[in-house]
């Protein structure tokens, strides 16, 4: 809440509650005005006028509530201006006379902050391991805090040395399953040095129209030597020997899913790996494998007990 309460005109005291006190430019605010009279009069039926810095009336609201001491409006909606920054409005109660009691006009200022829309930036979809110098793709998504359409907004990807490694613009469609996440597919080239590199993506802000703040996010790019060998993993159900489709195979940092035949082929650099094979409803399989050439291995997975085993 951000309100200048307590200023007094005549015998009436006016307090304005604004929620939230800080809001996206152009977004809605809930306003409640409470007015008390020193004599405890019931002021229901009077109206409050909300005016901006130019004295333009933005809204009126009637005092409809009375608790025996204070009269109040119900919460009503104002829309914040598109300009970012602090805005000072006034709540004006016209002069009135009721039941032989007169009130002078009362004007009370209140303020709130309108801010540029924030950008939440997310990166996903890049491979868990990328060969040195290889081109790869990633997705960059941006969500405006007010849910604005962001089609065409530029995003830029920068590598660990600060050099731009790729760029794109947000597509017209939102990412499936989301309410307002706009995304771009960006292609970039991995560095030649192996290891984990911290890259970042930037989405510049805009001042024209609805103000949008800049956004950024960092992400890791795992660069590995070019794989020398292929590991073939066959995942089977230990009870009926049926192949398990969709089992997840991990030889960190290499990952793959098994196909219809329960087979996954993973190209890896030579070395010693812990192989994990896991499938939903199966107890994960784990073994150590040494890769010095192409390797074929069989992982037999056992089904988990159905449901909570002991509550049958």
């Amino acid at each position: 809440m951000a309100a200048k309460a307590g200023s007094t005109r005549g015998q009436r005291t006016c307090a304005i509650q604004v929620s939230p006190g800080e809001v996206d430019a152009g977004a809605e605010l809930a306003v409640t005005v409470r007015v008390s009279c020193g004599n405890g009069f019931d002021l229901r039926g009077e109206s409050v006028s909300i005016r901006d810095q130019n004295d333009t009336e933005l809204a009126t609201a009637a005092l409809t509530e009375f608790d025996g001491d204070t009269s109040a409006t119900r919460a009503f909606i104002l829309r914040a201006p598109l300009e970012a920054g602090e805005h000072i409005y006034r709540a004006v109660l016209a002069a009135s006379e009721k039941d032989g009691v007169s009130h002078e006009e009362t004007s009370t200022e209140f303020s709130f902050m309108a801010k540029a829309h924030a950008a939440s930036v997310n990166v996903w979809g890049l491979p868990s391991a990328i060969s040195a110098g290889e081109r790869f793709r990633l997705k960059v998504g941006i969500k405006c805090s007010a849910g604005c359409k962001l089609t065409g907004r530029l995003v830029s990807v920068f590598d660990h040395e600060g050099a731009q490694a790729g760029a794109g613009s947000l597509l017209d469609d939102i990412w499936p399953g989301t309410s307002a996440l706009y995304f771009a597919e960006v292609e970039a080239q991995a560095p030649l040095t192996t290891g984990e590199h911290e890259w970042h993506v930037e989405a510049p802000g805009s001042e024209s129209g609805v103000p949008h703040a800049a956004g950024s996010s960092s992400f890791a790019v795992k660069v590995v030597s070019r794989p020398d060998h292929e590991v073939t993993v066959e995942a089977f159900d230990s009870e009926n020997q049926a192949p398990i489709k969709g089992a997840h195979v991990l030889l960190h940092p290499y990952r793959a899913l098994t196909d219809e035949s329960g087979v996954a082929r993973v190209k890896v650099a030579k070395g010693r790996y812990t192989l994990f094979v896991s499938g939903f409803q199966y107890i994960p399989y784990q073994s150590i494998i040494d890769v010095a050439g192409d390797v074929r291995t069989r992982a037999e997975l056992t089904l988990e007990p159905e449901g909570e085993e002991d509550y049958r």
Binding site: G177, T178, L181, H248, E304
Partner: protein
């Protein structure tokens, strides 16, 4: 088929008394369909100034496993029996269970399978257990149930603390109960093991079954598709609220064409009870046990209040599946006189914070789920039988049996996004109206693809170990801490080497219940647990993120957001979430970094997947308890004892309302009910 056990001449004589006397079920004033005769109350009742609305020989409080067995047994012995049940339908937790019934002592089903017979012509396939592991007798069963040496995989010696008198009586009656169940239309598949707490040396548990057919016929043991429910169409039925699967196939248990579940016991016994003249007052909660004097004399009856459950949309009262034998009594408060006895079959106590915190102070946490709350209703496991007993001087026993019991101490559910992961039910049964979501069953393996965070958004344990929950040591040897080969009463079972070798217990729920930055005085509650995952995880697992697995409209237990920041705020829709997931973004940034490294430096989770693909999800992972142990102190006759060790005349108890044993489920409750019903019916009439 095994021979029937001798139940004694006295019982035979009592069984001949089948018809109800005219004093049975009277109600003062309006008869309300009870076939009433208005009589004056007894001298004791008048002395207390109580106007009894009903009077019967035996009042049974609750219609779950204990209550149904007690009611039918007492009725068989000639008593008039009135069951009062706070819920709108009969069956308690029994009707939604898996129906795995662990008895033994050479019971009829052990004998059937030992001889590879099928005397009922059920079409069973070959026995699943070798004959020598089915050779049993009550002495062996009693020895198993009190074996001091057996230590389970959590390092706890449960059988050691089982009350000896209770378990001698339990073992002696277990074979009779198997036959009793069969005599009341219950059929069993082949024995396929032993249930929790049912002993270590022999196989003793079989699933109760019904055969799929065009129509439901309890006497014939058949079940119609409509009454079963339909897994393919994601429907349960009003007949069958079995958890998770509406009537799972029993083929794997030697019964092709049959399905199994607790409904096969509950509905069969309920049918038999109604057929034999047991009367039911549903929607009625026992509030007070009435004794001659506050702490002395006989128990005379009960005071009970009207507790209907209403359809949340139509406002109509929910009704039981079967109506015959019901007394539709809607008076706010009534008094029911028990000429012979009251049997407390009210179930457990996890709905009572004062009771449940007697053994575990962490149970102040309000988000803890207990029992199938949507099925049983808001009075689920409220401990009312225990509390009412305490108020008239009853003692308690076995409260420590909850300690580290896998079913009675808190665990984290792998059924996500529902307020009632225990019920885990589809639409079609009224309890879904209250559960509102079946939940997303990810299994233990599913945790590889999600993180679990506390109420401030911090991880607290290796998620892949969440479902690593051991159960009691039991048959077969080698499972859950049982030494191989198993030698009863052998000190080696309890040796440090054995315990070290077998120890297996996830402490994930303990970490979840630890105080955190959101815990506040005076309770320092830990708050709910959330499973957080991304859409990539949901796609990998084929998780059904839709109605009826999640609620529609949303109910606060499942949330979806475009960004993690939004998700962190949305969880406030959960009724027990006190703050946004303050650290969620930080937690996931850290987790994704660890996934990149391939090493979980924080919690040693073996496999990590980045959580980065929108949309993002937070699904409540309920901390839940299923059973409760500890309750009214009873003797081998199921009579309740007072704090001086004296019998409280006219008061019996069993199952989760009683204490003294750690056995789970139908085996324990059915025998307790049978013993209580037997002895209550033979009480002198007051």
């Amino acid at each position: 088929m095994a021979k029937k056990r001798d139940t004694g001449r006295k019982e035979t004589k009592l069984q001949e008394k089948k018809a109800l006397s005219r004093r049975d079920f009277f109600k003062s004033g309006a008869a309300a369909g009870v076939g009433a005769a208005v009589l004056s109350g007894s001298g004791e009742a008048r002395a207390q100034g109580i106007r009894w609305n009903y009077e019967v020989d035996v009042v049974v409080l609750g219609s779950g496993c204990v209550g149904l067995h007690a009611a039918v047994r007492a009725r068989d012995l000639g008593a008039s029996v009135l069951v009062i049940e706070q819920n709108f339908d009969v069956g308690g937790k029994l009707v939604h269970s898996g129906g795995w019934t662990s008895l033994g002592g050479g019971d009829a089903i052990q004998e059937r399978d030992r001889t590879a017979a099928d005397p009922q012509g059920l079409g069973l396939t070959a026995p699943r257990i070798k004959p020598q592991d089915l050779e049993d007798d009550p002495d062996r069963l009693f020895r198993d149930m009190t074996d001091w040496s057996v230590v389970d995989a959590t390092g706890v010696a449960r059988y050691r603390y089982n009350d000896r008198e209770l378990h001698r009586a339990w073992a002696d009656n277990a074979p009779k109960v198997r036959q009793f169940m069969m005599d009341n239309y219950v059929r069993f598949a082949r024995i396929d093991g032993t249930h929790q707490g049912g002993g270590t040396s022999r196989a003793r548990a079989a699933r109760a079954i019904m055969k799929m057919a065009d129509k439901t016929d309890i006497k014939a043991g058949t079940l119609s598709p409509a009454d079963r429910g339909d897994p393919a169409r994601e429907r349960h039925s009003p007949f069958n609220p079995m958890r998770t699967i509406p009537g799972a196939p029993a083929e794997a248990f030697g019964a092709p064409g049959w399905v199994y579940g607790g409904f096969a016991i509950a509905r069969s016994l309920e049918f038999s009870a109604r057929e034999k003249g047991v009367r039911f007052v549903l929607n009625r909660h026992m509030d007070e046990l009435i004794r001659e004097q506050p702490f002395s004399g006989r128990v005379l009856g009960v005071r009970a209040s009207y507790t209907p459950r209403m359809h949340p949309e139509t406002g109509a009262r929910l009704e039981s599946f079967w109506q015959n034998g019901n007394i539709d009594e809607r008076t706010e408060t009534i008094h029911i006189r028990a000429r012979k006895a009251v049997i407390v079959a009210t179930g457990g106590m996890h709905g009572s914070v004062p009771l449940r915190t007697m053994t575990d102070p962490r149970m102040v946490e309000p988000s803890i789920e207990y029992g199938p709350s949507s099925l049983i209703g808001p009075l689920n496991m409220d401990g009312s039988g225990i509390t009412a007993g305490m108020k008239i001087g009853a003692n308690l026993a076995g409260m420590m049996q909850n300690y580290q019991h896998s079913l009675a101490s808190p665990t984290i559910s792998s059924v996500l996004g529902t307020r009632d992961a225990v019920a885990s039910i589809f639409p079609g049964h009224p309890s879904f109206l209250f559960a509102r979501a079946k939940g997303i069953a990810i299994g233990g393996a599913g945790w590889e693809h999600a993180i679990a965070v506390n109420q401030v958004g911090r991880r607290f344990y290796n998620e892949s170990d969440i479902a690593n929950i051991s159960s009691d040591a039991k048959y077969p040897p080698g499972s859950d801490g049982t030494r191989t080969p198993f030698v009863p009463l052998d000190w080696r079972n309890a040796s440090a080497a054995q315990v070290k070798a077998q120890y297996k217990r996830s402490a994930a729920s303990d970490a979840a219940l630890a105080m955190n930055e959101g815990s506040r005085a005076p309770d320092y509650a830990s708050g709910p647990v959330w499973a957080v995952f991304d859409s990539a995880a949901a796609a990998r697992g084929g998780w059904e993120l839709r109605y009826p697995y999640i609620a529609d409209p949303p109910d606060g237990y499942f949330h979806k957001a475009d960004t993690l920041a939004e998700l962190a705020k949305k969880v406030m829709g959960h009724p027990h979430q006190k703050m946004p997931l303050k650290y969620l973004e930080e937690t996931i940034a850290r987790y994704n970094a660890l996934a990149g490294k391939g090493v979980d430096e924080d919690f040693e989770k073996p496999v990590l997947h980045r959580i980065d693909t929108p949309p993002f999800y937070a699904a409540a992972a309920g901390i839940r308890v299923l059973d409760s142990y500890g309750g009214l102190r009873i003797n081998g006759k199921a009579q309740v004892l007072d704090t001086h060790g004296e019998v409280i005349a006219g008061l019996y108890a069993g199952g989760e309302a009683s204490g003294g044993g750690s056995q789970h489920g139908i085996g324990r409750a059915s025998v307790h009910g049978y013993i209580a019903g037997t002895n209550a019916a033979q009480e002198p009439s007051a």
